[in-house]
């Protein structure tokens, strides 16, 4: 058993431990959850150094039999693509424990148990190298989130929880069908073996096969991302979830979809991915602009942040389907950025909700005078989210725009509109909430950050600055892995010449660009 197994095992053990604690002692549940999640975070930091040195190979690999026939293996490992997402999950879990410390006051024990189970599922998704195992973690992460939204959420929580569950389930069953199909073709669920077969020419999927398999995986991932027009579950789930649920959902869970695209959909079905790229990019750009426009008119803070997520995730998808090094790097970087900055936004909105017991923008105003520190932290986060240089989102958005410009400059233009719009809705939000007259209720109820709240917010703010200035810390292992994946997407790409002339668009050009590199 290596470090990675321990990191998976520890929260699972924590889940059981918290579950067995006596109901009468909520403090113990909080304490155990915090201790376990912090321990997991500290341990996971030790993963970073080896992966940083060599991001393109899998490290901390465990490959053991789970079920002999059909051959299902417990095969996990971490590389430059997964490492930061794992760290994101392990960082945000203790943050969520802290955030929920006071906020969650009923059924405390179950809450922290589910939070730890969620952590297992999320880490598992980012390290699983067996398709079956990946699916198991994918589905397992669904259940605790369902309960987190449904039990501790706001008024329409049940509707939101059920919608969330059904949307994801509907997508993932199609993915399951594709996974089984691949197994029947090859006799293995193992991701690395499958890639090796594709590279060696032992597994040649015909064009229709690729297109259908890609679609199966893609729909599952696109629902999770969520890509326009499959995004409608997201605002509901975000608004109704408790703060910790929103943070985990936005910061980590949505990345399951984009991670899946990069890890599985692209390298395994390169032909199909390139053929569909043009359409997917159109959806992504619609998502960027639509999400931003809808965010602008939201009267509810959480809903605003939720729609801004749709917009930001559009950037990620755009970056992925440029098939350029810059675009992919930017996409992965943007996944992390969105995790940090949107997580922080939900956290701060959660703080405001705890004070004022409202999420309506109209109920606030002049918070800057009542809570100056909170306002400052919010401002940094907001600026990061807009994409101000020196803060994290700028780097990711810039790389994505560079990548898209290499393929089709029109994409860049439209995506840039999204950046401008994000400044509009964020600044306007900030103005309405933090400036202006301070209503009576705000003055009475809104107090400044408490030490526990600082503790949860500081790491996120520090990361925003760090990731915005010292990209060298984070980018090299990601780039190393992405280069591999990009190379992988040129395998089988000769199918493209069969495409009719009319369909010859960005996708074909993408190949040329990739080849030129």
């Amino acid at each position: 058993m290596n470090l990675l197994d321990l990191i998976l095992l520890l929260p699972a053990a924590g889940f059981l431990a918290v579950l067995l604690l006596p109901r009468r002692n909520p403090g113990a549940a909080r304490g155990v959850a915090l201790a376990v999640s912090l321990a997991v975070f500290v341990l996971s930091l030790a993963l970073a150094a080896p992966v940083w040195k060599d991001g393109s190979t899998m490290q901390f690999v465990t490959d053991a039999d789970w079920i002999e026939s059909p051959a299902i293996r417990y095969h996990v490992g971490v590389d430059g693509l997964g490492i930061w997402l794992v760290l994101l999950a392990t960082l945000l879990t203790p943050v969520c424990v802290l955030v929920s410390w006071r906020h969650i006051d009923r059924r405390v024990k179950e809450f922290y148990a589910f939070l730890l189970l969620l952590e297992v599922g999320l880490i598992g998704v980012f390290v699983a190298l067996d398709l079956f195992l990946f699916y198991v973690f994918w589905e397992v992460s669904l259940v605790p989130m369902y309960f987190l939204i449904g039990i501790w959420g706001h008024e329409r929580r049940i509707y939101a929880a059920v919608k969330f569950f059904l949307y994801t389930m509907a997508g993932s069953v199609l993915m399951l069908a594709c996974i089984i199909y691949l197994y029947n073709r090859t006799g293995t669920f193992d991701y690395t073996s499958l890639l090796a077969m594709i590279n060696a020419g032992d597994l040649i999927l015909s064009r229709p096969e690729q297109l259908l398999l890609f679609l199966g995986f893609f729909i599952a991932f696109a629902i999770k991302v969520p890509l326009f027009p499959l995004h409608t579950w997201l605002p509901d789930a975000h608004v109704e979830a408790p703060t910790a649920g929103s943070i985990m959902l936005a910061s980590v869970m949505l990345k399951m979809g984009t991670y899946g695209l990069v890890r599985f959909a692209l390298p395994m079905f390169p032909t199909a991915a390139r053929e569909f790229a043009w359409w997917i990019v159109i959806l992504a750009i619609i998502g960027i602009i639509y999400g931003a426009l809808v965010a602008m008119v939201q009267p509810n803070m959480k809903k605003l942040v939720a729609y801004s997520s749709v917009s930001h995730l559009g950037f990620v998808v755009l970056g992925i389907f440029t098939f350029t090094q810059a675009g992919l790097d930017g996409a992965v970087y943007q996944m992390l950025n969105h995790g940090i900055s949107t997580g922080a936004l939900f956290l701060l909105v959660g703080y405001l909700y705890e004070r004022r017991h409202s999420l309506e923008i109209a109920d606030f105003g002049g918070v800057a005078t009542a809570a100056p520190n909170l306002s400052t932290v919010f401002m940094i986060t907001m600026l990061a989210s807009i994409g101000l240089p020196m803060l994290n989102n700028f780097v990711g958005e810039f790389l994505v725009l560079v990548g898209s410009a290499q393929v089709d400059f029109r994409w860049t233009v439209f995506a840039a509109i999204g950046v401008i719009l994000s400044a509009c809705y964020m600044l306007w939000l900030y103005q309405r909430v933090f400036f202006g007259e301070t209503p009576e209720k705000v003055r009475e109820k809104v107090y400044d950050l408490r030490p526990r709240e600082w503790a949860a917010a500081i790491p996120l703010v520090a990361l925003m600055v760090w990731m915005g200035t010292v990209t060298k810390t984070f980018l090299p292992p990601v780039s190393a892995r992405n280069a591999e994946i990009l190379r992988q997407t040129t395998v089988n790409a000769e199918f493209l010449v069969e495409a009719p002339p009319g369909a010859r668009g960005a996708a074909a050009e993408a190949v040329e660009v990739a080849d030129a590199r």
């Binding site: 109901r23 079920i67 199609l174 399951l176 089984i180």
Partner: protein, 490 residues
Amino acid sequence: MPADFIPSTQDLLRLLPEAVLVAAGTIGLVLEPLLRDSRKRVTGVFSLAGLIVALWAVVVSRAYPGTAFRNMIVVDGFATFFRTLVIAVGILTVILSLHYIQRERPESGEFYPLLVFSVAGQCLMAVGNELIVIFIGLEISSIASYILAGYLRDDPRSNESGLKYFLLGSFATAFFLYGVAWIYGATGTTNLREIGDIIAKPEIRPPLVIVGTSAALMLVGLAFKVAAAPFQIWAADVYQGAPAPVTAFLAAGPKAAAFAVMVRILMVAFDPIGAAWEPLLWIVALATMTIGNFAALVQDNIKRLLAYSSIAHAGYVLVAVTAHSDAGSAAVMFYLAAYAFMNVGAFAVVTHVARAGERRLSLSDFAGLARREPAVAGLFTIFLLSLIGIPLTGGFFGKFYIFKAALESRLYLLTILGLLNSAVAAYYYLRVLVAMYFHEPAAGTVEAMPVTPGVSFVLWFSAGATLLLGIFPTLVLQFADQGASLALVR
């Protein structure tokens, strides 16, 4: 040939489990009138012992594979698997009923011997290698089940259930028997293997119309028994009205035995004309899943909800039958085993929550169960997640295995539709979870009642089995794989 009429020891050993069960049932019936009213429970304990001995007898007879009584029965991996399964279901049902029967106070203690007879019939169905033996097994199993369904004499719901089950059930067995008569007329034999051999040879094969009609008639009878569309109508009413432990039994035991018969008949006797029945089953499987799931969406009574869910699950199993392969048969076996445990577990929860007289059966009665009885709610969650098909439960692995077999047999469209069906199904199971976890207990809710030891045992055992089948399925899988390939040996 007079000497042939004296069965050999091996022949007797091959029939040992059925013999044990029939003996236990008979002695139980004789014992019952001798007991004072307060001690009727002894028949329960006695029947439990009988079932456990029968389980041992299954292991014994497993050591003597082969046919017995001039090819009338066959002991193979397939038969052993289903014998074990139906006896295990019987054991769990008896344990579940021990307190229930006392609580509902019927007038007599025949409940348990009847249950044992029903199990005996199902065992006979599992080993039957010949249509008449199968028919006898079907009748033994069914007649005992009819009485069990209507066992609560003073409860009109139970009366309705028993009567409906009896009328429609005997109608169905008549269809089956009619099919047997046709095939006997056409081929001159009722032995499955001989029928298969005759059908396989084009020069001596009777016209396809006759063979096909007889197969269709038998399928109609079996479709009734497994509650497959379009013969599923009875299931909801019967399952709702029958005493909760009996419903658990009906949805697991007789259904599994009927599927065993269906697989054996189709794979052995009608294997050569697969092209004729596969399209038919394709439609039946899809209709069964879809009707079951969509009808379940709107149910408010937990027993009806689980009844429709049971129809839907029969549909999934039919997908595996449609695959018409070893892998498909193995998937049928694994799925029925997984389903038996999650289903019995779910009905154990219903038995507990419904209370005396089974008055508390609507979804609103489950509101806030997680607050009142967290352990029961937690276990129910495991069963529901398994019914949905969430990984790490037996239900998921079973579904995975079914659809894997279906894809191997190139049933692409059916697989997609089946999987989407299971996504639809998630909704109504979630409704139960919503009631238990997301709703507060209704005002004036009765206090939590301690879980009786019997119910508690069934709950924990079923939950353990469900998780075990989901996390370490290999043991049962190997069993199923071996059994499935034996069924095809010609």
